[in-house]
């Protein structure tokens, strides 16, 4: 019995050790970004691994006031809100119609969505670029908003229809037998129930759009319309000998996401695993 207990302790300790190592590895790069952003360039060049013994807000201030970073952050913000809103709205309606509607081929519709989820956006890049140039939308935020919305919709439909399928058919039957039209059913029953799922969907999509790089690089090349991620890569090239400045930009781009994460972890986790479960 005693050996069993000792094995137990050894096992628990080694489990903790294992997890702690993993966590350190997960956190170190973040620490590196934050600590380097707070050091002066001279200090960094002398010793990249050093602890920020004389932290300075210089790089952060530079980023916020002398570089277009706030403008780019605002662009990213606009693009994220617009494309996620349209996509979610559309997905709610489409998924509702697919799951509860009685139109032929609704299962094909959902399967198509699943299939389209896997198409790499880069394959659509060239024709979409040509289209945007011809319609004069290139370098305007509308171009990426349109493209992102189109890309987000398949996953959104897939996710929402998966959720709607969990709503018991009896609820719908009961409401429609009382004479409620389909739109009323949607508004009074389905919509309130899908609050949490919708929120999760919104969060997942928002992260995707916020982090997207390739499309933003191609469609938004003017300094005024760039998004945050594309802008960060600009910094990487422009300030190649000033790592603290570049990492200050990286830090500022991470902070909103981290804040969102810390305040709503459950939704992150649930959102990304819900699709799996279905």
């Amino acid at each position: 019995m005693r050996t069993r207990a000792r094995h137990g302790i050894v096992r628990v300790l080694s489990q903790h050790a294992f997890l702690i190592i993993i966590c350190l590895a997960a956190l170190y790069p973040l620490w590196f970004i934050a600590s380097t952003a707070l050091r002066s360039n001279a200090a960094y060049q002398l010793d990249p691994t050093g602890f920020p013994s004389h932290p300075t807000l210089g790089s952060l201030r530079n980023m916020l006031f002398h570089e277009p970073l706030p403008r780019w952050m605002w662009n990213s913000f606009l693009v994220t809100i617009s494309s996620v809103a349209v996509s979610t709205f559309f997905a709610l309606l489409a998924a509702y119609a697919a799951v509860f509607g009685r139109f032929r081929g609704h299962s094909i519709f959902v399967s198509t969505s699943v299939a389209l989820m896997v198409v790499p956006p880069v394959t659509l890049l060239v024709p979409m670029f040509v289209f945007m140039v011809d319609s004069g939308l290139v370098n305007h935020l509308q171009s990426v908003i349109i493209f992102y919305t189109g890309l987000l919709v398949p996953f959104a439909i897939f996710f929402m229809s998966g959720f709607f399928r969990t709503i018991p058919g009896e609820l719908i039957e009961a409401a429609s037998s009382e004479g409620a039209g389909p739109f009323t059913v949607f508004r009074r029953i389905v919509l309130p129930l899908s609050g949490a799922a919708s929120f999760t969907l919104i969060v997942v999509q928002a992260i995707w759009v916020w982090n997207e790089l390739l499309i933003a690089l191609v469609f938004l090349q003017n300094e005024g319309s760039r998004t945050l991620m594309a802008g960060l890569t600009q910094f990487q090239g422009r300030f190649v000998t000033n790592e603290p400045l570049v990492l200050a930009g990286a830090l500022l781009s991470i902070l909103p996401v981290v804040a969102l994460y810390l305040s709503g972890q459950r939704f992150f986790v649930r959102g990304l695993t819900a699709g799996i479960g279905k």
């Binding site: 990249p48 880069v122 890049l125 024709p127």
Partner: protein
């Protein structure tokens, strides 16, 4: 949806048959495809995507190990999980830039290794053409690991406790319990996640490669997405389109796979 996908999909096939300036395209038939197929940079790009596939078993294995440990109702499990999941939500671009500094030959990782006396392990992570794609893979694993952990943890939690209890009563040791009882029960989830990660490393790694190595040195860490982007930014739209068509072909094969796996999972 028809607009966002249908029209470009048709158009990209058409574009792949032209060369020259895109405002004055010249029809060249299959010449773009022939050119691409004989380009060593293209071969290397496919090869690198394949190399990145090797990260999938690592990610799954490590993720599984962490999830199993967390599943043991370890104290503070929820906190560990939050930390492990954090990298996944961070912007790949910002992370990639940080790693591009960390992994330089005189950067933080190597300096620390040398200080610890492990100088022999210090490599030119980004400048050695054999290691460049490995480094990219490392960053991909670092970020994607949290996702695997969370999925597996949720799956393990959803398992009926009776099977595990029965095994414990039967005298199964810890390892036996994990490997012989728990893991097989969540096999469909593992397979599904494998398919998802395979798709990820084929079509969603541009961010990492672009900021870590830009495909270098030479093109030893180029991937298909980067090849398309490079062709496009050199004005060779026809070439970019032809590679896009080929990438689409590869992705379609994987779509078929994923649908098949899902059908298997649903059947169970």
């Amino acid at each position: 949806m028809a607009f966002a996908f249908g029209f470009p999909l048709v158009q990209v096939v058409r574009d792949s048959f032209y060369a020259g300036n895109f405002s004055a395209p010249i029809y060249v038939g299959l010449a773009n495809y022939r050119g691409v197929l004989s380009d060593p940079a293209f071969h290397q790009s496919i090869l690198d995507n394949m190399k990145l596939l090797l990260t999938v078993p690592i990610m799954l294995g490590l993720g599984l190990a962490i999830a199993l440990v967390l599943n043991d109702r370890i104290r503070g499990g929820r906190h560990y999980q939050s930390v492990v999941f954090l990298p996944y939500v961070l912007p790949a671009t910002a992370i990639g830039i940080a790693f591009s500094f960390l992994l330089q030959e005189r950067g933080v990782l190597n300096t620390s290794l040398r200080r610890l006396g492990l100088g022999g392990l210090a490599q030119d992570w980004l400048g050695n053409s054999h290691l460049a794609i490995v480094s990219v893979g490392g960053v991909v694993v670092w970020q994607q690991l949290g996702f695997a952990v969370v999925v597996f943890t949720a799956a393990l939690l959803a398992l009926p406790p009776e099977t595990a209890e029965a095994a414990r009563i039967d005298g199964a040791g810890w390892w036996q319990l994990q490997l012989r009882v728990l893991v097989p029960q969540i096999r469909p989830i593992i397979e599904l996640l494998a398919v998802i990660q395979v798709i990820t490393v084929i079509s969603w790694v541009f961010n990492y490669v672009y900021v870590l190595t830009a495909g270098g040195p030479g093109f030893s860490s180029s991937v298909m997405e980067l090849y398309i982007w490079r062709s496009f930014s050199n004005g060779s739209d026809g070439t970019a389109a032809s590679v896009a068509v080929m990438l689409l072909g590869m992705a379609s094969v994987l779509i078929g796979l994923s649908l098949w796996v899902r059908r298997q999972t649903a059947a169970q």
